[in-house]
């Protein structure tokens, strides 16, 4: 009698748990569907309640004086734009490094070399996400306009400031509304590193004469491009992407412009 009762109890509890699990799964699915409809190509329309409405159609924005006009589109379009920007920055910084070396600004040459490597890493990272979204990374590589090292540092500072203050924050809004973790990670990493580059360029401009002698190597994270100017790294893992510090690339020689 007792055994039969306990068997029944087990069956009832089992049924109850199964029903509860089904309701839970169904509820979660309906919750997911209730967020945003998916666009073709796995992308979702940008709709966010916490942030201003994201721009899903290409739209030109007014930006800071002299800064390039920003077109904010879908996450894929934004990543393409970022890929193009990073690819051009890579080439431009290599040319700036060669010019700085030629003018005797050895430390600035190292800085441009490290920044060029970081931009290359960003471009590759963006490219991976573009491919994941079904696109093909394409960049219109322009011949860089090389001036004096002081002017090059100013131009680089301006470019990085535009990227960290305007371009990446706008692109991130769309990626966050899309809830695209890969896009958020690559855009966020690039934005953080551009902020570091801007600070390094500003420091170099503030002490231009000090750039003539090499005072310190630079280190670049091979995953996110985190750029550090120091004799030794004082952390065990990259503070942006957690890559072990022993995998950082040491930049102590000027790379040749391609």
């Amino acid at each position: 009698m007792l055994r039969s009762c306990s068997r029944r109890l087990v069956v009832y509890v089992g049924l109850l748990l199964s029903a509860f699990t089904l309701v839970l799964v169904a509820g979660c699915k309906s919750g997911e569907e209730g967020t945003t409809p998916a666009e073709p190509g796995g992308m979702k329309k940008a709709v966010s309640q916490a942030e201003p409405p994201a721009k899903t159609t290409a739209k030109e924005n007014a930006t800071e004086e002299g800064a390039p006009e920003l077109k904010v589109g879908t996450t894929l379009e934004n990543l393409q734009a970022a890929f193009d920007g990073e690819s051009n920055a890579h080439k431009r910084y290599l040319a700036f490094a060669a010019k700085a070396e030629e003018e005797g600004y050895k430390q600035a040459a190292l800085l441009f070399t490290a920044a060029a490597r970081a931009e290359e890493i960003h471009a590759k990272s963006h490219a991976k996400v573009i491919e994941k979204l079904g696109g093909t990374p394409t960049a219109d590589i322009k011949e860089p306009e090389v001036k004096t090292t002081k002017e090059n540092l100013e131009a680089a500072l301006k470019g990085e400031t535009y990227e960290k203050n305007t371009m990446y924050p706008e692109f991130l809004k769309v990626a966050k509304a899309d809830k695209n973790a890969d896009a958020i990670r690559t855009l966020n990493g690039a934005m953080t590193v551009e902020e570091e580059h801007a600070a390094l360029y500003q420091a170099a401009l503030d002490d231009l004469e000090g750039q003539k002698a090499i005072t310190s190597p630079l280190w670049v994270c091979p995953v996110c491009g985190h750029t550090v100017q120091a004799q030794k790294l004082d952390f065990s893992n990259c503070p942006i992407c957690n890559t072990p510090a022993d995998q950082f690339e040491k930049i102590d020689q000027v790379a040749a412009a391609k």
């Binding site: 509820g27 973790a181 966020n188 953080t192 503070p239 957690n242």
Partner: protein, 162 residues
């Protein structure tokens, strides 16, 4: 407004959902350890319950660290916030290691009667006291790293991918 359950979180968004469990479990566990010590000669149930809490809490700590590492690349913070995040991560890894060792140690204490049949309070109490001292140290690190996590959310506005 229709009621709907939240969507199933992505791995990168799991961190805020899991971090509170290990904190609660690992802070409650010593109460059961203490009760287990006091009732050591009468029942081993409390000691086993404490061990279960510690195992679950430590497992939660491993999941929390892993999901936190996945989430860190998505957090938009300033330089100060990044420093806090790095410290938070460093302490979280220390917490994970400390509670892994403490759980193994307590499992050994719970298993002691299998090897020494007659354990008097003269042995049981000092062993537990040493354990409590070590555990208190680990709880302090846990509290410090939890506070840093709270700062990231409430001071630096870090939000998870929901």
């Amino acid at each position: 407004m229709p009621i709907s359950l939240p969507p199933v979180p992505k791995w990168e968004g799991l961190h805020p959902l899991v971090v509170h469990f290990p904190i609660a479990l690992l802070i409650v566990a010593p109460l059961f350890v203490a009760t287990g010590m006091l009732l050591w000669e009468r029942t081993r149930a409390y000691a086993v319950a404490a061990l279960i809490l510690m195992v679950l809490g430590t497992a939660g700590a491993w999941v929390s660290v892993a999901s936190g590492v996945a989430a860190m690349g998505l957090a938009t913070v300033n330089a100060e916030g990044r420093e806090v995040m790095a410290r938070h991560q460093e302490l979280a890894m220390l917490v994970r290691l400390a509670f892994s060792i403490l759980t193994a140690l307590y499992a050994a204490i719970v298993a002691l009667p299998l090897f020494a049949k007659r354990l008097t309070p003269k042995v049981v109490v000092p062993v537990h006291l040493v354990f409590f001292v070590l555990y208190a140290g680990a709880v302090l690190v846990l509290a410090a790293q939890s506070h840093l996590g709270g700062r990231l959310v409430h001071e630096f506005g870090v939000q998870a991918l929901m």
